[in-house]
């Protein structure tokens, strides 16, 4: 189920502006990879190229090669829609569909993609996804109520359930806890630990402790100055990055000396 991602010489542009330059990295399956770095260094931008969401923005494009278990995501003839079905995404701000109930939200991916499934099968998928997202106990009695009635943390877990109901190979999370309180944050961190048994997980975070707590590998991005492209500075096991980083900038950043 879970796949390995390999990026080679990736440059990312917004029209003429080069936002990220020359990223080379390997993201291992069944592990959590964290992206850290100061604001504006291109973490979100790079994350969004991993499921071809970057090109949704007018004028945005990607140069280089990104492989998912050896298959080029940006190869000719690749349909971004198929890529996104394999690489799910959770956004910074919870964004459940306001017209749908909790259950409909979880099943949105399946229903909108015409995956035919019987009612009982749908119920099963919904329950499994909600259990997977640690939300089942809290919502099992109000599955038909609107998703927007949940608290922020619950909404974010609903969005995670919605993403994993599609059984993706990879799960991308862009600062999934930045809008949440500490309790909800812990719930989601626990969840990430459980999910990594099944999925390749990539998480962007601004929170050093969070990166140290949840990730196996950490990638540090940095930016030389405004208007400059962001770059991958170093990437290693989380333990190594947080104890003995090889680059001075990484050490400065994680010890809070800048950023």
């Amino acid at each position: 189920m879970s796949k390995r991602i390999e990026a080679k010489n990736v440059d990312i542009y917004y029209s003429k502006f080069k936002a990220v330059e020359d990223v080379n990295m390997v993201i291992e399956p069944r592990a959590v990879t964290a992206f850290i770095g100061p604001s504006g260094c291109g973490k979100t931008t790079f994350l969004r190229t991993l499921n071809r969401m970057h090109e949704v923005i007018p004028g945005a494009y990607v140069d280089g090669r990104i492989d998912l278990d050896g298959e080029d995501l940006y190869g000719p003839g690749v349909d971004p829609v198929n890529v996104r079905r394999k690489v799910g995404m959770v956004f910074q701000r919870p964004n459940p569909f306001p017209t749908m109930s909790i259950k409909e939200n979880v099943l949105a991916g399946l229903r909108l993609n015409n995956k035919s499934a019987g009612t009982s099968e749908q119920d099963e998928i919904a329950e499994k996804a909600l259990r997977g997202a640690n939300l089942w106990e809290e919502v099992k009695n109000r599955l038909d109520l609107p998703g927007s009635g949940l608290s922020g943390g619950q909404q974010q877990r609903l969005c995670i359930a919605r993403a994993i109901a599609m059984s993706p190979e990879v799960l991308l999370m862009d600062e999934p806890c930045s809008a949440l309180d500490p309790i909800s944050t812990l719930a989601i961190e626990d969840l990430i630990q459980e999910l990594k048994a099944t999925y390749t997980i990539v998480i962007v975070t601004h929170n050093m402790q969070q990166a140290a707590r949840v990730s196996d590998t950490t990638a540090f991005f940095n930016i030389a100055g405004t208007g400059q492209p962001g770059k991958l500075i170093e990437m290693d096991s989380t333990e190594k990055i947080f104890s003995t980083p090889t680059v001075k900038a990484t050490e400065d950043y994680i010890t809070g000396r800048f950023g």
């Binding site: 969401m53 949704v56 198929n82 079905r85 964004n95 569909f97 991916g109 919605r162 993403a163 599609m166």
Partner: protein, 360 residues
């Protein structure tokens, strides 16, 4: 669930640096009543009769001045300005309401005479003098606006989807926006002439039928639908589109199943408003749909009567005696107002039914 709110009683405390003078609550009604008396008295003294308009205007003036001065002396400048602004806002609101209430009341009192079953069940065929009704015109209005809606809603909706979701900054989108804006300003009579000319070219000079009327009304309705729908699609948060794309949902389906449903209540309300706006059009229908005294339910052949044209016809070309014609005109106007009210009601219900569910 209703819970009674209890306002704790506070004993009067001596004034401190935070207290300020305040007009007692009874000031507004008392000053209001007094100003009415003074205003009408002044109007009577000035003109020698009790004129309603002048009386109310003078009363309002007295009220504004007295309240402002009282507030200024007791409450101070900031609160006085606040009160003045509030009174002006309320006053303007009442002023705006005046024609509406007046029109509704006039139509009701004059139209109610002939609002009987015969009015709804008979046409004007072979009717001279009293009796008869507007069945032909009511059917005509319903059919023509129905067809106009069937033409305008798909065109308007899809154009708006193109502008909001696909066009963004493309020259085609910009020129469509420009022409839609121009279309909004087209005088309705021009729309009628356009439909008449179009049908003349297509089906022979002088062709007049319900479809022509519907086409004329569509010309007026499409820009309104496009504009309101486009605005509503634009305020659907981009996050929802991205959430949908990230699930691997194609763009067209994201639009159909996520974007439009999120905005649907507003879209429906916009369509209903556009309908209410065109249902009272007279000039284009006179040209493109023509006049007739008999019931015609086939929009593709023969002239078709509509309510506004019926009202015009009965009022402007009465027989002798005039009264039955004028009564019918008022009843027709009242029916039209009732239909528009009904439309608005239905629109609200639909909008409520489809509005995004906000839990809790």
């Amino acid at each position: 669930m209703s819970t009674a709110t209890l306002t704790p009683k506070r004993s009067a405390s001596p004034s401190n640096s935070l207290t300020a003078g305040q007009l007692p609550a009874w000031t507004t009604p008392v000053v209001g009543a007094a100003s009415l008396a003074v205003g009408f008295l002044a109007a009577w003294l000035l003109t020698g009769e009790i004129g309603l308009g002048l009386g109310v205007a003078l009363s309002a003036l007295v009220f504004l001045v007295v309240m402002h001065v009282a507030s200024l002396t007791i409450e101070g400048g900031r609160r006085a300005t606040d009160r003045l602004a509030k009174h002006l806002v309320v006053g303007m609101f009442l002023l705006a309401l005046l024609p509406l209430v007046s029109v509704s009341l006039t139509a009701l009192t004059n139209g109610i005479n002939r609002l009987d079953p015969t009015f709804f069940s008979t046409s004007m065929r072979n009717i001279v003098g009293a009796g008869g009704g507007a069945a032909h015109a009511i059917w005509g209005t319903l059919i023509i606006t129905g067809v106009a809606m069937a033409i305008s809603v798909p065109i308007g909706l899809l154009t708006a989807v193109y502008l909001a979701e696909y066009g963004q900054g493309k020259p085609l989108a910009r020129s469509i926006t420009f022409f839609v804006d121009v279309m909004t300003g087209i005088p309705s009579i021009v729309a009628g002439l356009f439909a008449y000319a179009l049908f003349g070219v297509l089906f022979g000079i002088g062709t007049v039928n319900g479809m022509g009327g519907a086409v004329a009304l569509s010309v007026l309705m499409i820009p309104v639908v496009v504009r309101s729908t486009e605005e509503l699609l634009r305020i659907v948060p981009n996050e929802l589109r991205e959430a949908s794309y990230a699930l691997g949902v194609p763009k067209w389906k994201t639009i159909m199943r996520i974007v439009i449903p999120t905005a649907i209540s507003g879209i429906v309300a916009g369509v209903i408003l556009a309908l209410a706006r065109i249902i009272g059009e007279t000039a284009p229908l006179m040209i493109a749909a023509g006049f007739t005294q008999s019931l015609n339910t086939n929009p593709t052949s023969g002239a078709m009567m509509t309510l506004p044209v019926f009202v015009y016809d009965q009022y402007a070309r009465p027989g002798v005696p005039r009264e039955p014609y004028w009564d019918r005109a008022w009843a027709g106007a009242l029916t039209l107002i009732l239909i528009v009210m009904l439309l608005n009601l239905v629109g609200r219900l639909i909008a409520k039914r489809f509005a995004p569910k906000t839990g809790r």
